[in-house]
């Protein structure tokens, strides 16, 4: 259902976790939990589905990484494609612009701290 729809915040967050380099689903999950923006935490099923959708759009690709341990099947690793990198950077720039424009608002809220 996400095909063709604009890039959502959740998809963007996933893409960002891959900027530093290819990762396992496991690692993506951890990073989203530890360094996420504090929004709703994605469940494994949802994350899996979003990853597949991103693969389908061609923004990320799956590769069979070397199996970490000797046992078990090789674990799947996700990496950004060229297209994906462009999408992330365009979106990042767009968001940065937005943040800049919202700057006064940030200052404003700093002046009246929440009680």
């Amino acid at each position: 259902m996400t095909d063709g729809s604009p890039l959502g915040a959740r998809e963007f967050e996933i893409l960002v976790t891959l900027v530093a380099g290819p990762k396992h689903g496991y690692a993506i999950m951890q990073e989203l939990r530890d360094q996420g923006t504090g929004g709703r935490i994605l469940g494994p099923g949802t994350l899996y589905r979003l990853l597949k959708a991103l693969v389908k759009r061609g923004w990320i690709a799956e590769m069979n990484g070397a199996s970490g341990e000797s046992e078990g099947p090789p674990r799947r690793v996700y990496r950004l494609t060229g297209l994906g990198e462009r999408v992330v950077s365009i979106e990042a720039r767009r968001l940065a612009t937005l943040v800049r424009r919202a700057g006064p608002l940030l200052n404003l809220s700093r002046r009246s701290p929440r009680s």
């Binding site: 689903g25 935490i41 469940g43 099923g45 899996y48 799947r76």
Partner: protein, 889 residues
């Protein structure tokens, strides 16, 4: 911290391809998610659990939806089409939520009625009591009488011979064992079985604590005094005390050692009866009752056995010669045979009436389901016809007829599936209420009827079958010959369809007529029973019965106790009169004996007269209002040592001395030859003794002071004002006299009489309730079909009126159509009900085999309701304005 196990388990629910692809990764991700919160405490952990679960559910739904979509793209076929049909049908149904709700409720009632009854039938007849191993190998053994009658019991020596001589069958004997257990100083009356040594091994029951009874415990009279408790009794009365084994409890006034507790769930091998304990057979009789263990003529044991690999016929062939041999040994001049049946939890002798009664209830429930189904079929047809135009257009633009039929069938299936689920919920509630029911009877019972898979499969299966039927026929009819539909030629089609609708309505009328007639028969039985002259007063009388058999008291002690209690009761304020009898009349029991007199022969041409008998106190007759028509009642002078006296009832006097005065005559009673000579001092008016439906029976009364009762005594008190505290008062008086006396029942006399009528009440209540629902549904159906008729024949009726037919004539046309359908239905339904009445005659006492009044009442009710339902559309038809009709045409 690893992912909780349920997570991995739930993954098994996913489509296989999805699992192969995603499972390892999902597990890893879940692990990452879980381990991040799991260490933080209980609340975050719980939250994560909920989140993981919700996430997995959503994923599960998506995975299957994707799978179905995937399948659709691969093979565009049935699955896709059905999926579409379901969605289409649901949208159609959801557009008319009131129809949806009514239809589901109607089906729910029908399925609920049948499911409840099938559940009870399943619980009684098909399920084996818990704890019994390999029940298909079990058999029951009964002795046959001379004339071939079955279900006779065995004597102790007979059983032992059978057990020794029959190879390949593990035989066990048992007898009902009424028990009074003192718990916390209070004697509690309950029941169990006295069993032979092979009872537990043959049934394959295991102990929870200690041991069960074995052959070593079975030493006849004077053997070990030991008891095994049922798990339920141990838990509820002894608080599951694990130190109970080896301790002594007071059982029937004697200390008895508990040797074990049976496994949970095992409440004996008899349905409904929840045995509380088991003792060796030797403990079931008093020390002076040696005849029970030596005399071949004293039969008191039921026998069952395990016969692996043998059919009942094979066991019978093996056992009958032995039985004949034993019979000869005890002096029979005929070959006694045995009757072997497969074991069932309902005792073999009671199987036929139980099956009959349940069969009746299933027919009643089935009639409700039939009405509900045909009603829905009618509604479905109406909906289909209302959409004739839509259907015709869809056909014209190329939809296949099969597709249209499928839509209607799927719609109907959805309705019946919903109704089936609702019905199962209704049945669950009804069964729950039944389980909590407490009957005022002294034996421990357990009405536990689980809704098992078999029943659920039957219910849902029959609901879906009905749904298929009710969808298919209307669909076939509604989509046939639609060529004319687009031309809006109303009269060109529809005769076949209206015939189907009429047929459906007639079927509903028939089924509800069946219910109402049966209900009428039972209601009439009840009203007859309540108006029956029982020959004594039951209003305002309270009965408390004590069990003596368990205490083995001597006669003098029993007489003194009875007199003491009766005196104390009489002194209690609020009590007008008190009396005692050894067997409460109309309490579903009887005791018979014989009287003989030289030179007189009974109607059967034999030298003695069979009669019922009872032992009563002097106060009994006055308490229950049975007048002494001749001679005198019993008095305090009738004691041991004084001349033996008796009172006969009018029937017995008439049988022995027709037209003579029996006072002063002497009878021998109790034995055919040489019974004690007893003087008749009075004649008591006739009354009912065994059941409300009996013909006048001969009866003789003996004074308790001369013939002490051995089994039980019932104390009856007549109250000046009915007092709800009477049960407590009587318990108090009896306890004061002897704290060991166990009370087996303590209720109003009317309750005692009511228990005998319980099956009638159940059947009358169910049939009436079902009948009313059926009548309401059938009325709606009739109204609907006539309304439709009026709309369809509007033009014809308008033309008739234009040509001068009076309004009354038009009204008559519609009314007569309604009454015609009603008449057909009534004829079929009444015939079916009368057929059924023949089968259930034993429940309909006091009525002729064809109860004309009852049938007429039921038929009349239905006819009036049907006429009212027909009149509304008839009036509407009569009010047709011919001008408007012809103008619109």
């Amino acid at each position: 911290m690893t992912v909780p196990r349920w997570y991995a388990r739930m993954l098994a629910l996913f489509p296989r391809e999805f699992r192969r692809e995603a499972e390892p990764e999902l597990l890893e991700m879940a692990e990452a998610d879980w381990s991040a919160t799991a260490s933080r405490g209980r609340w975050p952990k719980a939250l994560t659990t909920v989140r993981l679960f919700a996430d997995l559910l959503v994923t599960l739904g998506r995975a299957w939806a994707g799978r179905i979509r995937g399948a659709r793209t691969r093979r565009t076929g049935l699955l896709d089409a059905v999926w579409q049909d379901v969605r289409y049908a649901w949208r159609g149904l959801a557009r008319t939520p009131s129809f949806l709700a009514v239809a589901i409720a109607v089906v729910g009632i029908g399925v609920g009625a049948t499911t409840s009854i099938v559940t009870v039938a399943n619980g009684l007849l098909l399920r084996t009591p818990a704890g019994i191993a390999a029940p298909e190998q079990l058999i029951t053994v009964h002795a046959r009488g001379r004339s071939g009658s079955s279900f006779h019991s065995f004597s102790y020596p007979d059983f032992h011979d059978l057990q020794l001589e029959t190879a390949g069958v593990d035989l066990a004997a048992f007898a009902i064992f009424p028990a009074s257990v003192v718990i916390g100083g209070e004697p509690q009356f309950t029941g169990g079985f006295a069993v032979s040594g092979r009872y537990f091994p043959a049934l394959g029951v295991r102990p929870t604590l200690g041991r069960l009874l074995g052959p070593d415990d079975d030493q006849g009279l004077g053997g070990a005094r030991v008891v095994v408790l049922s798990h339920g009794f141990w838990r509820s009365r002894f608080g599951a005390d694990s130190t109970i084994v080896g301790r002594a409890i007071t059982l029937n006034g004697q200390p008895v050692t508990v040797v074990g507790v049976a496994e949970p769930g095992f409440r004996g091998h008899v349905a409904v009866f929840a045995a509380a304990l088991w003792v060796p057979i030797g403990m079931s009789r008093g020390p002076d009752q040696t005849a029970f263990f030596t005399d071949r003529g004293t039969s008191f044991l039921e026998v069952l056995g395990r016969a692996p690999g043998l059919s009942p016929a094979q066991v019978e062939a093996r056992m009958s010669p032995i039985s004949a041999h034993i019979g000869r040994a005890q002096g029979l001049d005929w070959d006694r045979t045995v009757d072997i049946r497969r074991y069932s939890a309902v005792p073999a002798g009671m199987l036929a009436p139980v099956v009959g009664f349940l069969g009746l209830l299933i027919v009643l429930g089935g009639a409700v389901l039939l009405i509900a189904s045909t009603n829905i079929a009618g509604l479905t047809l109406a909906r289909a016809l209302a959409r004739t135009r839509e259907t015709a257009v869809r056909l014209a633009i190329g939809a296949s007829r099969g597709r249209l039929i499928r839509h209607l069938v799927v719609e109907s299936l959805i309705l019946f599936l919903g109704g089936g689920l609702l019905g199962i919920a209704i049945a669950g509630g009804a069964i729950g209420a039944l389980t909590r029911l407490r009957l005022p009877i002294p034996i421990p019972i357990q009405l536990e009827f689980p809704l098992d898979l078999r029943v659920l499969a039957i219910s849902l299966g029959s609901a879906l079958a009905a749904g298929l039927f009710c969808g298919l026929f209307p669909a076939l009819h509604a989509t046939a010959g639609l060529a004319g539909a687009l031309k809006d030629d109303e009269s060109a089609r529809g005769t076949g369809r209206s015939r189907l609708r009429s047929g459906l309505v007639a079927a509903q009328v028939a089924a509800s007529a069946l219910l109402i007639v049966v209900a009428g028969l039972f209601v009439r039985t009840l009203s007859k029973a309540s108006r029956v002259d029982v020959g004594f007063e039951s209003a305002g009388i309270h009965v408390a019965s004590v069990e003596l058999e368990v205490l083995h008291y001597d006669q003098g002690r029993i007489v003194r106790l009875a007199e003491q209690i009766e005196r104390r009761l009489r002194e209690t304020p609020g009590i007008q009169a008190a009396g005692a009898i050894d067997l409460t009349p109309l309490s579903s029991g009887n005791q018979t004996s014989v009287v003989a007199i030289d030179g007189r022969e009974s109607r059967e041409g034999i030298g003695f007269f069979p009669t019922d008998f009872a032992r009563v106190s002097p106060g009994y007759f006055a308490t229950v209002g049975i007048p002494i028509t001749r001679g005198r009642g019993f008095g305090s002078e009738d004691r041991t040592g004084s001349p033996k006296v008796m009172i006969v009832n009018q029937t017995l006097a008439e049988r022995i001395w027709p037209g003579e005065n029996p006072i002063g005559k002497i009878l021998n009673w109790g034995q055919i030859e040489g019974g004690p000579p007893t003087v008749i001092v009075g004649v008591a008016r006739n009354a009912k003794y065994r059941s409300l439906s009996e013909e006048p029976l001969p009866m003789l009364y003996l004074p308790i002071a001369q013939e002490a009762p051995g089994q039980s005594i019932s104390f009856l008190v007549k109250q000046s004002v009915p007092n709800p505290g009477m049960a407590a008062t009587m318990r108090e008086v009896i306890r004061e006299a002897d704290p060991n006396l166990p009370l087996s029942s303590n209720v109003s006399f009317e309750t005692v009489i009511g228990i005998g009528l319980l099956p009638n009440r159940v059947a009358a209540g169910l049939a009436s309730g079902f009948g009313l629902v059926g009548l309401a549904l059938a009325t709606v159906g009739l109204y609907g079909v006539l309304n439709y008729l009026v709309v369809r024949r509007r033009r014809e009726l308008g033309i008739r009126m234009a040509l001068g037919a009076p309004a009354s004539h038009i009204r008559g046309i519609v009314l007569s159509e309604g009454l015609r359908l009603t008449a057909i239905g009534l004829a079929i339904g009444t015939a079916a009900a009368l057929g059924l009445a023949q089968l259930i005659r034993s429940f309909l006492f006091g009525l002729d085999s064809v109860d004309v009044i009852g049938v007429l009442m039921a038929v009349g009710t239905m006819a009036i309701v049907a006429a009212l339902a027909s009149d509304i559309p008839a009036r509407r038809a009569a009010a047709t304005d011919p001008v408007e009709v012809l103008r619109n045409d």
